[in-house]
């Protein structure tokens, strides 16, 4: 047993898991607010990262300005997407809604490949020190920053939903659209806001991952990895999404460890979350924190 490696992998897992958690949270936000399963969540990361990359290396902007501009762009992008494509789908059967987001995901993935190429593009260096040591482990500083950002985002989310009027309105919409509407809440606006927030926060995650691994089409795989996380946590629970993300992140790295130490199958860490996914669906289809659907005849 290689304890040092194990510890390193667990730390990696926690850090990546936090990012999964953030993306899962965005996914759940959209699902709760507008009952849409967003298969294009990964493309939000992809587009955010590419836009930021382009602003940095194309226009030579400082990082802070590029980052803020990216957020602004993603906010507008999210609203536009909701208004133009998803709004006509309200009330359509679930398969149509799923397919629309899948169609969007194909479209944006291909568009990104066309515009920015298929090769990994590294971000220009942002920090002086590439990595810091923590408990004797080398951890890349951007990952630490990413984790800090992720935690900040989570706290901001909590404050937003607990304290602001808009947050309250969004919770009301998620709880019951008709009641919310009759109380004077503009449901359409809430939908648009939820998409904007989701796109912006996903872009943050995209930029963080992009800075570490470089930007490439691989980023959109985050959108697929989110599914085990949200199913584990429960589709309609934000806390569950964060926890699910963490668990999936750690699990991946543990699978990698077990693979490298004993099993020697290779590439297990990519597929392990999906086995877990099937298992969870069989045992607890509504996840750890999700609402259990009780049907009475």
């Amino acid at each position: 047993m290689n304890t040092g490696l194990l510890l390193q992998l667990v730390i990696n897992g926690v850090i990546v898991g936090t990012l999964y958690g953030v993306v899962a949270m965005c996914f759940v936000l959209i699902y709760k607010a507008s009952q849409i399963v967003n298969f294009a969540q990964g493309e939000f990361l992809l587009i955010g990262a590419w836009v930021c990359w382009w602003l940095l290396s194309g226009l030579q902007l400082p990082f802070a300005a590029a980052f803020l501009l990216t957020l602004l762009f993603m906010g507008i992008f999210g609203v536009l997407l909701q208004v133009v494509v998803l709004r006509p789908m309200i009330g359509e059967p679930i398969i149509s809604v799923i397919m629309v987001t899948i169609g969007l995901s194909i479209f944006f993935q291909a568009a990104a490949k066309w515009l920015f190429g298929v090769f990994v593009q590294p971000f220009p260096p942002i920090f002086q020190t590439a990595s810091v040591s923590l408990l004797g482990m080398q951890v890349q500083s951007i990952y630490l920053l990413g984790m800090a950002i992720a935690l900040l985002v989570m706290i901001a989310f909590a404050c937003f939903f607990k304290m602001s009027r808009t947050g309250l309105a969004m919770r009301a919409t998620a709880f019951d659209q008709q009641v919310a509407q009759s109380l004077g809440i503009s449901v359409k606006r809430m939908f648009a806001i939820s998409w904007a927030i989701s796109a912006m926060v996903s872009a943050v995650a995209g930029v963080v991952v992009g800075v570490v691994n470089g930007v490439s089409a691989e980023l959109s795989f985050f959108g697929i990895k989110v599914f085990p996380a949200v199913i584990l946590g429960g589709l309609d629970s934000i806390v569950g999404a964060v926890l699910g993300g963490l668990i999936v992140g750690v699990l991946e790295n543990l699978a990698e460890f077990a693979d490298g130490q004993w099993l020697h199958i290779g590439g297990l860490f990519n597929i392990a979350p999906f086995y877990v996914l099937v298992l969870i669906l069989m045992i607890r289809p509504y996840g750890l924190f999700g609402t259990e659907d009780i049907e009475r005849v």
Binding site: I102, I106, F107, F274
Partner: protein, 352 residues
């Protein structure tokens, strides 16, 4: 010609496969035309027709699962690939003749489909869609890993179809094999919907609680629908494998699965003919994009070079865009459009 109202007086007449003699006539005429296609059409067109054939069979299976029984599957391509590998394996390793290995591969894929359909016993809707997503990735991983089955990263060789010493190794002859299987597939699907089991599937989709109270065994039919879809996918995949002569694990990705879903949505959910129309649309769309780009390049000004360089991405984008646009503007698909045209023709010149 179509009747101008309901004149049927017995259930038998109502359940007929072809509701008028004319529609039967048209169907037979269409089949004869298809049978003559190898004599009339060039190699390019024939190749497209064969593609439409084997993809159409798999799309039809998916339509039975998604359109008729209302369960979403994101893993059809994995079963398509499974069929291709299974048929090649049966032929290469056990020496089963190709003519027999195709249906056997279909049955084997059915077993896999039943296995991966088991989550459907417990979950439905969205959760089921995500479970099938997992099955797509698990099978894809299996293809890349299982050297004995798929040849791993090298892929597997598939021998050409042969019967009684005659090798169907040209497009011209193989077309008839695909046509035969397509006919069988369409007939079976159309008849399934007239049977007790088919009605159970539709009841499951429309109101599963009601269906359960009527005595439909939900678990059985949910899993059965997966089995049927997998059988069709397996047959389609086996035909694909023996057509290309080589099966590689790389092709059966989630994108390919989505294309199958795109076919049935563009063609029309719960429509047998729609599945084939959708398959034709999905095969012709990339060709159309290619023709469009080369047509633009041939114009006097010429197309900018980035347009031609982006052709593979343009094709993918067109597929994504087609799915989105169809869902927004024509959610019932091409089959519905066809029904509208027929109604217009029937009522002409008085449209109401």
């Amino acid at each position: 010609m179509r009747p101008s109202g309901q004149f049927k007086t017995s259930y038998r007449a109502d359940m007929r496969l072809f509701d008028t003699p004319a529609s039967r006539g048209f169907c037979i005429a269409g089949l004869l035309l298809l049978a003559a296609a190898p004599l009339l059409a060039g190699d390019y067109l024939l190749n497209l027709l064969i593609q439409i054939g084997y993809l159409g069979i798999a799309a039809l299976g998916l339509n039975i699962l998604v359109g008729f029984s209302g369960q979403i599957s994101l893993g059809q391509s994995a079963f398509f690939g499974f069929g291709a590998f299974a048929s090649a394996w049966l032929n290469n390793e056990l020496g089963v003749p190709v003519a027999l290995s195709i249906p056997l591969a279909g049955l084997w894929t059915t077993a896999a489909g039943l296995l991966f359909g088991v989550p459907a016993a417990r979950v439905k809707g969205l959760y089921l869609a995500i479970a099938t997503l997992a099955s797509q990735f698990i099978l894809q991983d299996f293809f890349a890993r299982a050297e004995w089955f798929s040849g791993g990263s090298h892929g597997a060789q598939a021998q050409p179809f042969s019967l009684f010493g005659f090798a169907f190794d040209s497009d011209r002859s193989y077309f008839y094999i695909v046509l035969l299987w397509l006919m069988l597939a369409v007939t079976a699907a159309a008849n399934l919907m007239r049977s007790r089991d088919g009605r159970a599937l539709v009841a499951l989709r429309d109101h599963y609680l009601g269906a359960e109270m009527m005595g439909v065994n939900l678990t059985k039919y949910r899993i059965l629908a997966f089995g049927i879809a997998a059988f069709y996918a397996g047959i389609g995949g086996a035909l694909y494998g023996h057509y290309l002569g080589y099966v590689s694990a790389e092709g059966f990705t989630i994108l390919h699965s989505v294309q199958f879903l795109g076919m049935i949505i563009i063609g029309g959910l719960a429509s047998v003919m729609g599945s084939l129309l959708g398959a034709a649309f999905m095969v012709l769309l990339p060709e159309f994009m290619g023709a469009l780009v080369s047509g633009l390049a041939a114009l006097p000004g010429g197309a900018p070079p980035w347009l031609a360089a982006g052709l593979p991405y343009l094709r993918e984008m067109a597929i994504g865009l087609a799915i989105v646009l169809f869902l927004i503007f024509e959610p019932d698909g091409l089959a519905h459009r066809w029904r509208r045209i027929r109604a217009w023709w029937k009522l002409y010149p008085f449209s109401y």
